[in-house]
């Protein structure tokens, strides 16, 4: 990290491409020492990306650190910073501050079956988990990916589904709330898909990211109907953080700060907090 932890590294946009409707992938190569800071980031960590002049916002890092020198961010155009980012292209400079937060305990997951549940752009911080498992395929058991969106046009990383499907011992299940004419996968909520897949709660961990309401119903279903222990249900939570370092106070969930105590939690931890994330 920089001497002044508020100062971002500069990063060169080496690639910008459409990922889904109003969602773009930004691939950044860091300059001025940033590459060193980001040599060891872990699946689940996040960073702030600056659109200079407009501000910065936190994003889950969307790739595993083993995959080349660049860092990926999936950005939905929702506010002023993200709109500013969407106007940038290859060769433009952004700021990157991080890596921040805790991460999925991938070492602890070794030998276990994994279910990854991503809703909409919530899939972005889960992509490093998928990539990490594929890159260390024999360290982990069966990998089930449940990928959901409101509409087919909002599904992220569609061009990587073939890679995921082709990996050994790996399944991909897709669902959307509202299909279009070409859609030939599941229709309905991710919870319905989860019931259909009906995984056994033995030797397994789940990793969920999506809108709070989705996290709520997915983890409720896993625990109340499917017999999963809360401590085996991992989630990554979001908040409108401003500093990401436990200072600005904006992301507290009861007595915890999502930026430094999270963003990764298991549901046993979340359940013990005073405040709910909903």
């Amino acid at each position: 990290m920089n001497k002044n932890p508020m100062l971002p590294y500069l990063g060169n946009l080496v690639e910008v491409r459409d990922l889904a409707a109003d969602i773009k992938l930004f691939r950044v190569e860091l300059l001025n020492g940033g590459g060193e800071a980001f040599q060891t980031f872990q699946p689940g960590q996040f960073a702030f990306v600056s659109a200079f002049g407009l501000g910065e916002a936190p994003f889950g890092i969307a790739n595993a650190s083993g995959r080349g020198p660049a860092i990926d961010f999936a950005v939905a155009r929702l506010g002023s910073v993200t709109t500013g980012l969407h106007e940038l292209g290859k060769g433009d400079i952004v700021g990157v501050r991080g890596p921040l937060g805790n991460w999925f305990p991938m070492k602890k997951f070794k030998g276990k079956n994994l279910i990854v549940l991503g809703g909409g752009i919530g899939g972005a911080p889960l992509r490093p988990v998928i990539q990490h498992v594929l890159d260390h395929r024999f360290d982990y058991g069966h990998l089930t990916i449940l990928w959901a969106a409101r509409h087919p046009s909002l599904l992220v990383f569609t061009d990587e589904y073939d890679e995921w499907r082709a990996a050994p011992d790996t399944d991909l299940h897709l669902t959307v709330d509202t299909p279009d004419k070409k859609w030939d996968h599941n229709v309905g909520l991710i919870t319905q898909l989860l019931e259909k897949v009906s995984p056994s709660p033995e030797n397994i961990v789940t990793i969920t990211c999506g809108p709070p309401i989705m996290i709520h119903f997915v983890t409720k279903l896993l625990q109340e109907k499917m017999g999963f222990a809360p401590k085996n249900n991992y989630v990554t939570l979001e908040a409108r953080m401003h500093c990401g370092m436990g200072k600005c106070g904006r992301c507290n969930l009861g007595e915890k700060l999502i930026c430094v105590d999270g963003p990764v939690f298991n549901m046993e931890e979340v359940g013990g907090l005073l405040e709910t994330f909903l």
Binding site: N4, G53, A239, R240, H242
Partner: protein
């Protein structure tokens, strides 16, 4: 330890000696002291000691001489530039400037010094260290002045403080017959005291009368009240105006954003914010986990008496210093002491 070593911690000085000393300080460094600014008492820089609003002189009562804002703003200003951004075509250049001047604050209240100590836990004692706060803190000496009475809204004694508590100061002054007793509390404070010029004393300062104390719920009592309907009732009055946070010596929530200075030149700033604000917790896409005013007001009280000490390793300590400012500034009559006493009542 010999008697003389202990003696060297206290001096008896007259009003004119004190003023001459402060004038000397103001010549060499930035001196900040309570001063009337457009009729409002604030901690502001003074060129000469006669600009200072002294108890009983420019102000007729303890109430009138109490600064509206705490010393928090000296270390953590309402708006702070983090760096500037120069944009030339595709090129970006970032430039930082840090506050690096020596400052002495005179007339610090014990509740405010406590507030600074509590902010240290977050900005200094928890990594990463805040570059701006750390510089200001390192370069600043706190000279306290014991309060001679407690105002109607003061309750420092109920939250572990006292109107004459010296623990968080560098130097403490106590009014006494014919002047002040000055006490060196830290090495930094001792360094500022003119050796040899002042008369060493062994007099123990007289304690300020504690006229008000009530029972504040202990930290472990807080979780059970989280879902009380009480929070709906008390928050009905709240306007979400955030004034309580701005005057609070320990509220430190901030926002970071970019502002344009002129085309092609921007600054990234951080500015005070508060969990009472309606959009404070809203995320992109619209999810608002603390949509209800009661949830937001509750968060402020829980931050003071439960969360903050959990997050920054302060044990059972509360993050409230009992200064009473939030009570005075609230336009809707939300009174923190009323809340604390209500929670203590049997249900």
């Amino acid at each position: 330890m010999s008697e003389s070593n202990i003696d060297q911690k206290r001096w008896l000085i007259s009003q004119s000696e004190l003023e001459a000393w402060l004038d000397g300080i103001a010549n060499a460094r930035t001196l900040i002291a309570p001063r009337q600014v457009s009729g409002i008492m604030l901690y502001r820089s003074v060129e000469k000691s006669d600009e200072i609003a002294w108890y009983g002189q420019t102000s007729s009562s303890a109430q009138a001489s109490f600064p509206v804002m705490s010393v928090k703003e000296i270390f953590f200003p309402p708006t702070e530039r983090l760096f500037t951004i120069q944009k030339t075509g595709q090129e970006i250049r970032l430039e930082e400037t840090f506050p690096d001047w020596e400052t002495v604050v005179f007339g610090v209240r014990p509740c405010d010094a406590r507030g600074v100590k509590l902010l240290d836990a977050l900005f200094l004692d928890t990594n990463p260290i805040d570059s701006f706060y750390a510089r200001r803190r390192r370069n600043t000496t706190l000279i306290g002045l014991a309060c001679t009475e407690m105002r109607p809204t003061c309750f420092c004694t109920s939250v572990g403080g006292a109107p004459d508590n010296a623990r968080d100061m560098d130097i403490m002054l106590y009014e006494t017959d014919g002047g002040y007793i000055a006490e060196a509390v830290t090495e930094k404070g001792r360094f500022l005291i003119p050796g040899g010029e002042w008369k060493v004393t062994t007099i123990t300062p007289q304690q300020t009368t504690f006229n008000k104390q009530f029972l504040v719920p202990e930290k472990r009592e807080w979780p059970k009240h989280f879902n009380d309907a009480y929070w709906n009732k008390i928050s009905e009055r709240c306007l979400s105006c955030r004034a309580c946070a701005y005057v609070c010596p320990t509220c430190r929530c901030f926002a970071i954003r970019d502002e344009m200075i002129r085309p092609g030149e921007f600054e990234r700033i951080r500015c005070w914010d508060s969990c009472a604000g309606e959009n404070y917790r809203r995320v992109a896409g619209g999810h608002q986990p603390r949509a209800e005013k009661s949830e937001r007001l509750r968060n402020r009280f829980y931050c003071k008496f439960f969360y903050y000490s959990e997050q920054y390793g302060l044990g059972a300590a509360s993050a409230c210093t009992g200064c009473g400012r939030c009570i005075e500034v609230c336009p809707a009559g939300v009174d923190i002491t009323e809340v604390l006493m209500d929670l203590e009542k049997p249900v």
